[in-house]
Amino acid sequence: MKIQGYWLASGVLGVTASTMLRTLNSGADAVVTKSIGLHPRKGHHGPVLATSHGGLLNAVGLTNPGIDAFEEEMQILRETKVPVVLSVFGDSPEEIAVVAEKGANMGPSAIELNLSCPHAEISQISHSPAVTSEYVKAVKEVVDLPVFAKLTPNATDYVSVGKAAQDAGANAIVAINTVRAMKIDILQQRPVLGNISGGLSGPPIFPIAVRCVYNLHNALSIPIIGVGGVSTWEDAVEMHLAGASAIQIGTAVMEDIEVFSKIKKGVNTYLKDRGHKSVDEIVGAAGGDKS
């Protein structure tokens, strides 16, 4: 699949084929499913959502029906011509390989590896270049599809993690997952989220995502798929300039499901006004130093 355009990010409206088709009809160029594991998983107790400083905190906890049960939804999606990226997770390289291999037979255009959900056991994978490499290698050995590694901004040295994923055969990097965060209710004097802490998304994490994408783009040769707080066409342009070839949108869907077509329209007008022939001309155009 071509790494371009504006995609539905994993975890938002991605549980059923019907909602993913709805976002496709609203102009998304591709959809990424909710992360699917080997077994059915209930996730965390509620509240799974909280808000703070204009951002959204979530601790859903990788709720999913398991890869076997998800086939029914994938079957419906297969009938569309639009690319579907299957997001998978696993507790070990062996387990994620099993899920990816099963999933690859369900007709997705690519596999995204969730190596970085900040409020589940798998959160630590993409903190380590060596462990990340093991996961990517295990999946690359069993599937012929493009494999994207989704990384965390919570790691100190995410560039080394990105390099490890690239060396292990990843076809693109998805950056960033949510930022580990917390909300305390001052009247009840207790954490709001059932899981105590969760992942922050939405506008407050946008500048964090821009920095990560910028640094990864400068250090790696594989494409970067930018995600994190993008909600307007101006954000999308900035993310492209930082180095994102494609952009995923999640939290902004909450306000308006038409966000994909609005962003696309805005970016196209920007490109035209500035005399650019295509978006490729602005990907990474903000700079090329290796810092």
Partner: protein, 273 residues
């Protein structure tokens, strides 16, 4: 983005009053300091500290006092019915599309705790001059919610019919059969319902046959309440019960393949209704 607003302006409140409705259900009241816009059929997400967060229909709104009527079914509802005055809960909302209250003669049918969102609907309809027959249905007499309230309530335009599956009070049998009898000899321009989905699907068939405009309040497993997680999606349209519902019209229901058939459980697996 106005995240607070999209999330339903979360606020913690203390329970101000607990009313026992039936042996298994209670109404909790609490005051909301900030003004809200409420229309019958809408719901709130209720944070039960240390347990979970669940959607609950708003069963009364007398500003600033809001009420929710809870039947003990699972862990979170059990914790709610065990609460006393002064206990803390979190509230966000109201969410969802309300009932349309444009009716001259309405048939309102509630099954079990499904009568909760219908209570404010009934009072709003009466305020607007509608004539109403209300079928209050439950498995047995002891599970009829608001029975005394509506027995005491006198209004020439309002009539209540009781139906119990076991015949312990009123009509003996299912709500659908009680409604079938009522449709002989009565003209209605709208039918409103909330309750077990199999009952609502049966009522929808009656309404379709009788060419009565239909609205039902649906329930699905819900995590966010505000249109982002996708857990409560209906097939094949991808409409969300939290954001596009919970009230759906007959025309909308006709396009949904899972209405009265299946729902998805906590992990997203299909289960029969």
């Amino acid at each position: 983005m106005k995240m607070e607003e999209l999330m339903g302006n979360p606020v913690s409140v203390q329970v101000s009053k607990v009313i026992t409705e039936t042996p298994r259900s209670k109404t909790l009241q609490f005051a909301l300091k900030n003004p809200i816009e409420f229309q019958p059929g809408q719901f709130v997400m209720v944070w039960v500290p240390g347990v979970d967060e669940i959607p609950m229909s708003i069963s009364s709104w007398n500003p600033p006092e809001m009420g929710i009527t809870v039947q003990s079914i699972g862990e979170a509802t059990q914790a709610l019915v065990s609460m006393s005055k002064g206990d803390w809960i979190g509230i966000r909302g109201p969410f969802g599309n309300p009932f349309s209250t444009n009716s001259k003669k309405a048939l309102v049918v509630g099954g079990g705790v499904g009568v909760a969102p219908l209570r404010p609907l009934i009072y709003t309809l009466l305020d607007g001059g509608s004539e109403i027959i209300f079928v209050n249905a439950a498995k047995t007499k002891n599970e009829l919610i608001y029975r005394e309230e509506f027995e005491r309530f006198r209004n020439p335009k309002f009539k209540v019919e009781i139906a119990t599956d076991d015949g312990s009070l009123g009509f003996k049998g299912f709500a659908t059969d009680a409604v079938s009898n009522l449709l002989d000899g009565n003209e209605f321009d709208r039918m409103y319902t909330c309750g077990p989905e199999v009952m609502m699907a049966g009522l929808y068939d009656h309404a379709k046959k009788g060419k009565i405009r239909f609205q039902a309040s649906l329930e699905r497993f819900m995590k966010c309440g505000c249109g982002i997680c996708g857990t409560c999606a209906m097939d094949p349209t991808g409409q969300l019960v939290c954001a596009d519902g919970p009230v759906f019209t007959g025309e909308q229901l006709a396009k949904l393949t899972n209405f009265g058939k299946y729902h998805r459980d906590a992990v997203g697996m299909k289960k029969e209704c």
